[in-house]
């Protein structure tokens, strides 16, 4: 089985991996690069726990052959997290208690980041539509929606108090 070398951008750095054909981006991140924030819930595109951004757009990394991201820009939770402190979306998730077990959180944060990039002040309908592919079995979603609204305020400079 011929292995190939694939180069892509991860969190602002160029990375090069040696892979067997059609290894998924999810597998490369978790098993080769040690970036285990990206979760492995279903490998069916159905849970959203593996959501990463490719050129800024959310995608299911479990369905993406690594060859398809050659030369493209991949953003994971690890790339989002600053050296000191937290990204505003992460901080809002903490402030709103938007996770319990935390399994869905990396995917939720990546999706929320992408949503706020597209729509800095999304209403509940837009948030619900955006989140529809990401399952959370713990929170009942309300705190996640609140966190996104909170982050929206924080990132636009109109800092709002935590909703609760």
């Amino acid at each position: 089985m011929a292995s190939t070398i694939v180069t892509f951008e991860l969190g602002g750095r160029e990375v090069e991996v040696l892979v067997r054909p059609m290894t998924t981006l999810q597998s490369v991140l978790r098993n080769q690069l040690g970036q285990t924030a990206t979760k492995d819930g279903c490998r069916q595109g159905g849970c959203g726990s593996c959501t990463v951004l490719v050129d800024g757009e959310p995608m299911a990394s479990c369905l993406l052959p690594i060859e398809d991201v050659a030369g493209r820009r991949v953003t994971t939770l690890e790339s989002l997290t600053p050296a000191e402190g937290l990204h505003p979306v992460q901080q809002a998730f903490v402030d709103e208690y938007a996770f319990q077990c935390g399994y869905c959180t990396p995917g939720m944060v990546m999706l929320s980041k992408a949503l706020l990039d597209h729509d800095p002040a999304p209403n509940d309908e837009a948030i619900g539509q955006a989140l529809a592919g990401n399952l959370c079995r713990c929170t009942g979603y309300r705190p996640i929606v609140d966190a996104i609204r909170h982050a929206s305020g924080a990132m636009s400079g109109h800092d709002t108090e935590p909703v609760r």
Binding site: P21, T24, P58
Partner: protein, 283 residues
């Protein structure tokens, strides 16, 4: 994973050449949202896969009163066009954001029921598809494309290259009924369109999803509408006919019994949207 080679052609001719060379051994994949889950689960065990993501087959443009949709146009790209509003409505009601960023319009035609929501809208719009091989290209109407459950007109050496949709000013109604508000498999999907000859219906299209082995036309119902004023009686008769002629199935989402009743209900609702005096929300 047992894949020996993953081909990523950079153009349609290159893709068709590779297909001619590898023939039946190659699994074609566009967005991978249907094919990859099967590969990940070991249900599909291809040795050679050809990915179309880099083959330059995406893009939407107007051409001579028609919309040309490249086969690998993503569902998100379909949401961004304005020429045929109902295709936006169909894409919006398909899958989730991440999946729409990956899944393609062409791939939707190959998705087994209850999937194929965009295909249902395309069927009501009288869309056609270009099937290309290294030797030739032919255009087939979508109504003739499907031949059975997961079978179609595509030959082993052909790729779906592009789709053609006539652009018209008539509204097309699109209703998808699922068990959740978003990212939900269909209980039933209905797309309907009528053309008028003054106050009477000249022609009608009613397409159904999750109501047969592939997206189907409710032809008895369509015929019953011709010559009517699309009044209450005509709509009731057409809805009943659609419920009779469809071929729904039982799965984890709904029973055959329930789907048949929902076909009747949702065909009625779709036609009401098209009836004279209906609140005309231009779709």
């Amino acid at each position: 994973m047992t894949v020996q080679a993953y081909l990523l052609p950079r153009s349609l001719p290159e893709a068709l050449g590779q297909l001619a060379q590898h023939g039946l051994d190659v699994l074609v994949m566009a967005g991978g949202t249907v094919a990859m889950p099967l590969i990940n689960d070991g249900i599909s065990l291809p040795s050679v896969v050809m990915g179309l993501r880099l083959a330059g087959l995406d893009g939407v443009e107007r051409a001579n009163g028609r919309l040309r949709i490249g086969a690998t146009t993503t569902l998100t790209q379909l949401l961004q066009q304005n020429a045929v509003p109902v295709l936006r409505e169909a894409a919006r009601n398909t899958a989730s954001w991440s999946i729409r960023n990956m899944g393609t319009v062409g791939g939707n035609l190959f998705t087994p029921p209850p999937g194929g929501d965009v295909a249902v809208a395309l069927l009501a719009l009288d869309a056609s598809v270009t099937l290309s091989s290294s030797r030739s290209a032919r255009v087939v109407s979508l109504a003739d494309f499907y031949t059975g459950f997961m079978t179609n007109e595509l030959a082993p050496d052909e790729l779906l290259a592009e789709l053609w949709v006539p652009i018209s000013n008539e509204p097309t109604a699109f209703l998808k009924y699922g068990r959740k508000h978003a990212n939900t498999p269909a209980v039933v999907t209905v797309a309907a369109r009528v053309t008028w000859d003054g106050p009477t219906v000249a022609d009608a299209r009613i397409a159904l999803g999750a109501a047969g082995p592939h997206p189907i036309r409710a032809r008895d119902a369509e015929r019953l509408l011709v010559g009517t004023d699309l009044g209450t009686d005509a709509i009731a008769a057409a809805s009943a006919a659609a419920a009779r002629e469809c071929e729904p199935f039982t799965d984890a989402i709904a029973t055959e019994w329930y789907r048949r009743r929902m076909v009747g209900l949702f065909v009625g609702r779709a036609l009401q949207q098209l009836a004279p005096g209906a609140a005309t929300e231009d779709r």
